[in-house]
Symmetry: C2
């Protein structure tokens, strides 16, 4: 066991370095003076090089081999305790991924990505897809190369998906999304036939200090421990981990649209609760086993709290009066029913990040289809705008007036990130499956929310989803917890019940 | 010159690491969640080890030797450009200092220091010097060991002083302080014979947001570039350098004593302006040559702006109306003369950090005398409280009612920092000498302040004091700039003129 201890020590040091990188990144987004940006980039690059060195040291391979972990049999011998086997699997996977991509390719791609991002910013500003197209083509090409390095035997998109959602494949996700798409489109049709909801009061002027008080209130309601975290303001909300007891979130305050801060605070708090709840065992503290199972599982936590709890009638039965006081006079005279319907209004729109619960999945499905086709070469980059617009029309019934609000809206592809988008939609599906599992196990989460007992829900999530961290792959986790593989019908049923109530059909 | 480039590259990487350490330290004091403290300590220790490794690598010694820099002749051959010779001197001194102290001693002392600090906090809280005494004895002993490692041929206190004020010795400082002490005591006697000033309005309630606005105003008045810095709130104000374009300050807001934030903001801004103004030459950016000449020179910048500018009549002729508006109603109806006299009130008191311009030096001189005697063994640790109280009575005419407000008040000795205190008083002396030198060179700083032209003063300081950084030792710098060695008569004359006006004698 000396070897395992040594492996954990190397891992913990690499993680410490990564936490320092997270510190530098957090500061860059929150408080850093603007002129410090060049030096900060050098500092971040230094820290990344250091952590890369640490994670690719030959000693890791030697220890893994000595313990019986190989690429073919990553978990090592069955005689080891299962938590140690899980750890060997995680470390083997990480080591293989990090050592299979030549460092020249990493450096080259980092430079190209930086140019690509700059080009994307300009292209979006000027609605000029053509100027971005060569960069997009280059990013696709680098991703093909990376996929080939990681696993030349598999289809490139499968390899990329697996990076974010271990064990996932395009075929599996296509199956899940196929069912989901049909159901979402059908639900959207029903909603379209109903009178639209008036949500104009959500746009009442609401000063930042009042919204700050509301954010603090909801972080407290959700039991976010501020001795282990904090809230700051950034252009785009995020959650970041600076240590096992230092998980910070950010939000933004839009003075004429308070739901932006309220729901992004709840969303990011969901992410933070997950990170803070991971603790597979004391000896695996600060190791790679104390990480999220996958990005989609992470998203299941933010979405569960934001939507299934935070946009439920029971939640606002408890908290609308407080919100009305904190935001006064913005919500004066607004009743529970009107408020509930307004925050759940469904309206097909152009921008993914502003989408409601029903249409959100369709935005993601479109991106999944398009990135898969671009990667395989089936869709030439130059045809992306047309394909995008056709897809928006087909899935959502809206047509982008320009590429800035169309295929140029998201940062992901410009950063060379392909295979990530599905996580957003999978998160909703996992969340609904956790919800139904709680219910099946005798904890009625709806009733708990209605009586203000969020603690029971958090306790269930902690012990079932948070605690094991990366011990289980996402597919294993969902089977272990719910007794079944990922099944989109939970989410579809949840949406149908909810929106039948909201839109009265 | 390849060798010199390589040396600068190693140095720049070490400095980058130190800036990352400063980032972690800044965050710890400002925004870090409380439970993150243990992990943050590990992160800081990791970064310190890394920078120590970088600064003690044998390659530095090899390059220094190859370039002709030795301990006996640190600047190398006279044929090198003078800036490069200054750099060799700085790097040789740094390397010698860092490699002469065995790492076991560093580690051992770090542990002892952490215990000592904890013991000091308790001892101060409980007014229990006895419980701290063994730690103080241990800290003195470690300092004797360190001095012996650094230079066994010199007296220990001289070696320690030289760490903070290169080239200084106890004999030289004793000479300077001897003259100063007599003059300060004489001035204090004169002031004591005059009616005391009413400064009660300085304690009017003043909400934090109003004080924040005032801090922002004075940072702007002093031309602190906020694209390269920022202000935050901490228990104890400080300045910290996170990069050559990232120098941050902090302050604290005391609601019933606004001068605390106003003057600490001006003080720290003075430090920040110095750090931001150092640029001996482009190729020495981000190297150890782009550092302060000494701690006392640093203090000369904060004190010059805080006291010689910030507590002058001319400054408030310009800014009292604005302050009155920002802090309204706290200063309503307070005239210029009353305000000026109040912020310059002299009153012997127990606590150094709260002392006025006249008595401050006496607090420092007491510490200088006592730490020197403790280090030589002339003053046993157990006799410190009595010696302290006797000194306070002799120099300031006040007697501490307990050790908490006596010899336990400062953190320095508990941290094993001996030889640092003199810098505080030397800073005032340097500041007054810069002031008189400006005047002698035809830039009348008093007149400049009166007409609101702080830019001329900053420009003079930048080109004469800031820009060269560590190119000159403090003694060389003062001779170069003013044509004479450090001379306390400038400061004494400044004080006498000022307080004759304030107290009317």
């Amino acid at each position: 066991m000396k070897l395992l201890e040594r492996l954990r020590a190397i891992d913990a040091e690499a993680k410490l370095i990564e936490h320092i990188g997270a510190m530098l990144g957090w500061d860059q987004e929150t408080y850093m003076p603007s002129a410090a940006i060049d030096e900060r980039a050098d500092q971040l690059a230094f820290v990344e090089t250091l952590s890369h060195q640490k994670r690719t040291t030959a000693e890791i391979a030697e220890i893994l081999e000595a313990l019986g972990s190989t690429t073919a049999n990553p978990s090592g011998p069955g005689t080891l305790p299962s938590i140690d086997r899980a750890y060997l699997r995680v470390m083997r996977r990480q080591y293989d991924q990090k050592t299979r991509i030549p460092s020249e390719l990493v450096t080259e791609m980092a430079k190209a990505t930086s140019l690509s991002q700059a080009a994307w910013i300009e292209a979006r500003k000027n609605d000029d897809f053509k100027s971005f197209a060569p960069h997009l083509a280059r990013m696709l090409d680098y991703n093909r190369q990376i996929a080939a390095c990681l696993d030349p035997a598999r289809r490139p998109y499968d390899v990329l998906l697996d990076q974010f959602e271990e064990g996932a494949s395009e075929a599996q996700i296509a199956g899940v999304f196929g069912a989901l798409r049909a159901d979402l489109v059908a639900l959207l049709d029903k909603i379209r036939s109903r009178p639209q909801i008036d949500d104009s009061f959500l746009h009442h002027e609401c000063p930042t200090p009042a919204q700050q008080a509301a954010s603090a209130y909801f972080m407290d309601v959700l039991s976010y421990d501020l001795s282990r975290g904090r809230l700051d303001v950034t252009a785009h909300p995020f959650t970041t981990t600076l240590g096992s007891s230092d998980v910070r979130i950010t939000t933004r305050f839009v003075e004429n649209f308070f739901p932006s801060s309220v729901f992004s605070t709840i969303h990011e708090t969901g992410h933070a609760l997950y990170e803070l709840g991971i603790q597979p065992s004391p000896e695996y503290r600060r190791t790679s086993l104390s990480e999220a199972s996958s990005m989609a599982i992470h998203e299941s936590q933010s979405r569960l709290w934001e939507n299934m709890v935070g946009r439920s009638m029971g939640f606002w039965m408890q908290h609308l009066a407080s919100l009305r006081t904190m935001l006064s006079p913005a919500l004066n005279g607004i009743g529970l029913e009107d408020f509930y319907r307004a925050i759940n209004k469904v309206q097909p729109s152009l921008i993914r990040t502003e989408a409601d619960e029903v249409t959100y999945g369709l935005h993601v499905i479109l991106r999944f289809e398009l990135e898969s086709r671009m990667l395989s070469g089936d869709l030439p980059v130059s045809d992306l705008p047309a394909a995008w617009n056709e897809g928006m029309q087909r899935l959502l019934g809206v047509e982008p007036p320009d590429d800035a609000r169309g295929c140029l809206q998201d940062i992901h592809w410009s950063m060379g990130s392909f295979g990530y988008f599905p996580s957003y939609a999978l998160g909703n599906l996992y969340a609904a499956q956790w919800w139904d599992t709680m219910k099946a196990q005798g904890l009625d989460p709806k009733a708990a929310v209605e009586r203000g007992d969020l603690g029971s829900i958090l306790a269930w999530l902690r012990s079932n989803v948070h605690k094991p961290g990366a011990v289980y792959r996402p597919g294993e986790l969902v089977e272990r917890v719910s007794g079944a593989p990922l099944d989109p019908s939970h989410f579809v049923r949840y949406l149908n019940e909810k929106y039948a109530r909201v839109y009265g059909f």
